[in-house]
Symmetry: C2
């Protein structure tokens, strides 16, 4: 009997075991892992995949790709008020993917697993004739019954959004047409800011506890603020008015919009923000601001929930904007 490790076993031992730090992962030496959720807690479950040529550029550094794969899932946990516990990784690799790529990929994965407190519990690696495909299933915990939902917003609630909106969509536009940087008269730092916001999401997990403690509804902004927030309002069966002038923009995004005002639509509908949009009862707004400040995450109040249905984005003249397409969809 051959007692040799297979290639797959070697790959796991070399690259992935160091990230499997939870005892229930059994050092990836078994067929499955186990975990006991914290007492009195629900488990929160999420899966999201990223695909080469679709969600990232094939030339992106492997460690950034790994981080992105984790972070798009971490962002959802943050918006649901959940604390990360760990993740499962399903990795499909073309045969030309070598050890260099895998080594850097594992490095990025390990760094973020440590940073966000979400060790690897198990995985699956396959060859594919298609592009690199990374599917993460992430699980976190919330005290029983406290997962923050899309449904729950009430008329009068204030609408908050974290960080800044539109950077990633503008960064993607810049990567697709690099000459836009010149047309927009951006400096190097501005270009780099936008590009990096597309390349590497900054999920707001530091805000999760504040969201859980104060928000009536929340979701992460991944497919565009306009479309995602419309989903939240539909789920809550409410309407909303958003003041476009209050939507937080980075200096880089402001520079783009100064040069080409029509890019506002891209900023509000383009997606890949991985910020949190949430609704907070008016009486909680002050303490939510304070909690966000304590967590060192910028939040901006951008509008108010109304009775009825539909979300209006109004400009400083009180006119409602019309978007060609409110959010990104693959289908």
């Amino acid at each position: 009997m051959a007692d040799d490790l297979s290639g797959e076993d070697r790959l796991i031992a070399r690259y992935f075991q160091p990230i499997a730090t939870h005892p229930g992962a059994l050092g990836l030496s078994d067929d499955a892992a186990f975990i006991k959720p914290p007492p009195g807690c629900d488990l929160v479950l999420k899966t999201d995949a990223i695909i080469g040529g679709v969600h990232f550029f094939p030339v992106d550094a492997a460690d950034d790709v790994a981080r992105k794969a984790l972070r798009v899932n971490l962002s959802d946990l943050a918006a649901k008020g959940a604390k990360p516990l760990g993740f499962l990784l399903s990795l499909a690799l073309p045969k030309e993917t070598g050890d260099d790529w895998l080594g850097r990929f594992a490095e990025g994965l390990r760094d973020d697993a440590e940073r966000f407190g979400c060790p690897l519990f198990g995985g699956d690696t396959d060859r594919t004739p298609g592009p690199i495909t990374i599917s993460i299933a992430m699980f976190g915990s919330v005290p029983e019954g406290t997962m923050v939902r899309r449904a729950g917003a009430k008329p009068g609630d204030r609408v908050f959004v974290s960080g800044s909106i539109g950077d990633a969509a503008l960064g993607l536009a810049l990567r697709k047409k690099t000459d836009m940087g010149a047309a927009w008269q951006l400096g190097d730092a501005e270009r780099e800011h936008l590009r990096s916001r597309y390349l590497l999401p900054q999920p707001r997990n530091a805000l999760a506890e504040a969201v859980r403690g104060h928000a009536s509804a929340a979701m992460d902004v991944s497919d565009g603020l306009a479309g995602d927030f419309a989903k939240l309002c539909r789920a809550s069966r409410v309407a909303a008015e958003i003041e476009v002038a209050r939507v937080p923009l980075s200096d880089s995004a402001k520079a783009v919009l100064a040069a080409e005002p029509a890019m506002l639509e891209t900023a509000l509908t383009g997606g890949d923000d991985f910020e949190i949009v949430c609704t907070v009862p008016a009486g909680n707004a002050g303490s939510f601001r304070a909690a966000a400040k304590a967590a060192d995450v910028a939040v901006s109040e951008i509008g108010e929930i109304k009775a009825g249905e539909g979300v209006r984005f109004v400009d400083s003249n009180g006119r409602a904007l019309a978007f060609k397409r409110a959010s990104f969809s693959h289908f």
Copy 2:
């Protein structure tokens, strides 16, 4: 604001909501799901993907593909003694995949979700320039601390395997070279048996409780009995002797081996069996047999655990077989 559902939302509402029957799935209307594991239980976690052209044939019926995607994961839960709770689905589809395929896929998924008691908790759908890629993350439960592991086999333990071994590997050989059926002088029913065992795994979830109650170690046989059982023995730091004549074979497999004895190696190392191999302390063997019988799953005793290392497959003359490759590996 456009209040239209996106294409992705429609797809989810039409095909996948009916499978999301657990209240914590929130009808797939939120960004994440939640679940409270049964009191006193650990959650068991597993992910496995299947890819068109790699793990299934592009011409396979979509409902069979869906079942296979679920069952390769269910098989792991069974071997770990876990009861299925639910799953997350990450689906990457080429643009030519139409509603017909999706409808049948969802049908197969729903049937098996019901049959095995594992509703859909959430998912992610993407377009891919590559082949259909289906990644499942499945979770189950076991009473705290009782997940059956690869490590745990002790010298003197009896080795059992469920069902029959080799059918799927022979069925795959038959699909790759259909003229083998004639060479092997197989009847239609025999060919169909082998093909269907490759197409559609029959995971032994009915045996999970018996395994949990009696086995010292267990794993599912997915990459070939020889290689997988060698992994179990390595993890348990034991040796084993398997009597090849006692390895359970279907009548179809016996017919193939009668025509071409060299196919024995394919049967023992080819994989896709999705049976359970487990070790049972000698004193438990009788009650394990009885529990398996009560669960209506055939089990066969095929050998014994020894001190030392290495697994010997011995023929009826006591000679050890040598395999070119003990198990399937993608890498």
